[in-house]
Symmetry: C2
DNA sequence: GCCAAACTGTATCGCTTGATAGCATTTTAC
DNA sequence: GTAAAATGCTATCAAGCGATACAGTTTGGC
């Protein structure tokens, strides 16, 4: 082991060259794991797609499993980057006024961000595939995704649904699970939904149609 | 090729011995493919689980891919067996009286059956895994599942939602997609939801809590 | 310039996979 | 009973897999 272990290489001040390669590998791995799952993706295919050779994967991530875990962490980071601002905004609104109407407005903000993450972006396809496979058959990345993405997401949505009124705490939790899962229509089940609707993507006006249905359901929470 | 091609062996009048082996293989394959996807499942593991030897898979199904397609057809058949009666009942109700209230009652019947299929049974875990993997990344079985399960299911639910009132045809379709997808909370995403709720299954009283939320949303369709 | 560390490339190992060849055994028809 | 078809098993192949030994090349600090 004359060279570094290659694993925890973050704060290296110099030698910036490899960061690009590392990023390309991660991008290719996200797409490959998302499409085929852990066993379905091959290291050769990922290396090829990233334009590097096979030992580079070991060099940068220690191996296939390390690369897989790095993908999970990358997903968490991208989720955070997109959700932090809307969630802070929603929390600020609720601190100012805890009325049901405020809760519904806050819910719409959070759900718009959530739906954007799961539905709108093209990278979302890989994202959804990765998360869903890991969730359906818990593996090494399950804990990361559950604790960093799913649990806090359901928590905050359930809390807001409770504030919106009309439901007990338990029913609000259940409602949060069901509402968030309904987004999988355009997440994991996107190919089916697109084919059914005759769409080829979920861009601007179409995204608004999805959001329109979600917002109507949020409004109905007050009844 | 001194023996038969082994593929289309359906109407053979005699030689009933192998049917049991065939069924065991199919059962093991459903579980294996559902858990790990096409590449994740190995033929050895399936043969082992079914208590047969490796060449038996080729003998009965022609190979791994043939076995995979046979699984898709088996799923369609089980889906049909469970859904035919409730759908006929719902249609009969709607032929008698096309009132919004009737449509909501019919929807509850259909959704109870749908939820039972996706949520309640233990085999549903493999079922959900298989369908969802195939849907997320369309493969050879996509057409079968789409045309025989997804499309007719969304169609009938969307039709009933339209009758329930308050929504345009397009919005009703969208609502059908979102409502059916919300069941994935206890289908594909079951491990997450169970962990979040602290449940270990979705049996009687818990199943009713899920249905309670779904039925409340169906009732709200009338507003 | 020069050395060490960071990066890249070639070649190959050991293993598992799906498939199948070839033979033994069981079942059915007559 | 007996022949033929159906079914089951052992052994093995070729291909693809993840991993890595090892050497070469680039980069940055001094």
């Amino acid at each position: 082991m004359s060279r570094s272990e290659g694993q925890a290489r973050e704060a290296a001040s110099g030698y910036r060259k490899g960061e690009a390669a590392r990023a390309r590998i991660l991008e290719a791995a996200l797409a490959a794991f998302g499409a085929g799952g852990f066993k379905g993706a091959t290291t050769r295919q990922i290396a090829d797609e990233a334009g590097v050779n096979l030992p580079a994967l070991k060099y940068y991530f220690g191996g296939k499993e390390g690369l897989y875990l790095a993908c999970a962490e990358e997903i968490v980071e991208r989720y955070r980057a997109r959700m932090v601002a809307p969630i802070l905004q929603a929390q600020a609104m609720l601190e100012a006024r805890e009325a049901p109407e405020t809760a519904r407005q806050a819910l719409k903000i959070v759900f718009r961000a959530l739906a954007g993450q799961m539905v709108e972006t093209r990278e979302a396809e890989a994202w959804a595939g990765f998360v869903l496979r890991e969730i359906a058959e818990p593996g090494p990345a399950f804990a990361i995704l559950y604790e960093q993405v799913w649990q806090p997401g359901v928590n905050i949505v359930g809390y807001m649904i409770g504030l919106a009124g009309g439901l007990s705490a338990g029913a609000a939790q259940m409602e949060a699970l069901l509402m968030i899962s309904s987004l999988s229509a355009f997440g994991a089940a996107r190919p089916v939904s697109l084919k059914y609707l005759g769409w080829d993507d979920v861009s601007g006006e179409r995204f608004e149609r999805v959001m329109g249905n979600l917002e109507r359901r949020i409004d109905e929470l007050g009844s």
